[in-house]
Symmetry: C2
Subunit: 335 residues, 2 copies
Amino acid sequence: MVEKRGGRTTLVDVAQAAGVSRALVSIVMRGAPGASDETRDRVLRIADEMGYVPDQRARKLRQSSSRLLGVTFELREPFHGDLVEEIYRAAAEAGYDVVISAVAPSRSESNAVDTVLRERCEAAILLGPRFDDIELSTIVERLPVVVVARAGDDPRAGYVRSDDSAGIGLAVDHLVELGHTAIVHIDGGDAPGAHERRSGFRAAMSRRGFGAGPRVVPGGLGQIDGARAMDAVLEGGDPPTAVIAFNDDCATGVIDTIIRAGKTVPEDISVVGYDDARLASGLRVPLTTVSQDARQMADDAVIGVLSMIDGGDPPAIVGRPRLVIRGTTATRPTA
Amino acid sequence: MVEKRGGRTTLVDVAQAAGVSRALVSIVMRGAPGASDETRDRVLRIADEMGYVPDQRARKLRQSSSRLLGVTFELREPFHGDLVEEIYRAAAEAGYDVVISAVAPSRSESNAVDTVLRERCEAAILLGPRFDDIELSTIVERLPVVVVARAGDDPRAGYVRSDDSAGIGLAVDHLVELGHTAIVHIDGGDAPGAHERRSGFRAAMSRRGFGAGPRVVPGGLGQIDGARAMDAVLEGGDPPTAVIAFNDDCATGVIDTIIRAGKTVPEDISVVGYDDARLASGLRVPLTTVSQDARQMADDAVIGVLSMIDGGDPPAIVGRPRLVIRGTTATRPTA
DNA sequence: GTGAAAGCGCTAACAG
DNA sequence: CTGTTAGCGCTTTCAC
């Protein structure tokens, strides 16, 4: 009785098979009021037997509001994965569907955003976009946008991020309290958030009295970037006793280099990461890291963007990151 | 002149503004023949000024075929990221759009597949699905399906995978040629492909004359799984001189444990991974690994599923994996 | 509870 | 080259 290669089964087919009107089937499929429990069960059963699945496109087309949220994210960013997962949940709780659109080396951000636009999403959540002001501007003109995990100041866009500057501050404080003075920051280049972390590092260091040119080393987002940067640091002589990496991946590379160089973490050198993507919590060396709460950020982004749809003001939420102390930091070696 | 909060601009609006018929605008937007270059330019300009973006849903709804491919993937699998990226490319080359639907701990596979169904995708590509035969069966009845990176034998589904058994064989051969005899396989439990790799390992070992119970240790997909498994191996005494891990992440964990135990890779113990996801190539310790060619697999999957749409037979493609020798394998320690 | 009718934004098949 | 006419599959009035 199963309709082969279904999906093509339409509401009319079900109505005919059940001997009722299309409207009734529609009501039943939506779970809307207006049908007896008896009819409801029968229609549902028949629809199921026929392999009927409502056509999302037709449905959304007909509805005045699409109740659709577009999300762009980077396929390579573990933390984006965490955020996407939480956004699915948060959106579902609000009765919204989600269209995800990936960004990758071979698929540009504009490409990803175009998809969101063409699908007639009511609003977009952009995860760590690298758009410049102009590009962002053209998007913001078209639909409500919340930018996550990146700073910015377009008044028409909402922003949800955690305070990168404060986050790095937590890391610096932690290390200073452990007695470290020779602290290096391996940065994220031009990645979203990198600037804030860099200046947050400088600020925290000078606040702690290490004003004289705290060391910032060019790094990047990947493990290899962290490893290379740490290579350079060690080769330069005068090794630090602590390193704050741009993110967890980067920190992993840093740790790797340190170990390869015959030193140990955290005995010789302490290392702090950033993000606390699940990747990190699964690491063998439990990484001390600055945690951005994906769940909270997703909630904030979704709630914020929904309020914008209703004409509310763009949110400007700066979450307070949390330092998660695990096993890669220790008191300064007494050497 | 920009329509604020556009996206709501419709084809009719553009037609009116340009003083032409809807049909003409449609023709121009699709780049279809039937309009003078002059008109084309003018309409395009006006559309752009108005911030008009064609409604994908309405478009797909009207067209008999949606030219849409659904892809389900795991947010946490780096190799899936590689595949998704390549599928976007391969689909675009064939004139198809892609709907991606993520699987995560809090978002089930059925959920992901439902999305694909509701969007009226013409076919689905499932990356490493964990469905059992029954579940897969109900999906296969509804639309053409190609399963990637997992073995199976539903004759109605297409399969694109690389020969896991042969891949592990390559790893075993490589290690045996380096003089290793004490080789351990840390497996992937019930993950897609794990069974094949396990039995491939046993087969290759016995082919090489190590028939007497080659050691297979329960592992998993993550770094932590590899690390824990390796812990157990080392604690058990009689350490192997070589380890073949289920995947690259797992291998990373293995390496980590080895180093923490005061041994070195590859001097004391050689380690081979599996997948060659970009993650791996970015590792500081260049991982010797069995490469599954994401680009090739994506091409095969897309071409295969398109042919199924045209009534072709389901593809059954078993790619030949390639051993990529990097820095984590060496000749057996002469100890 | 039910059925008829209109229309979401677009494309396709025609006549002009 | 242009305009008209039909729908795609669904939801949403509105009478019955």
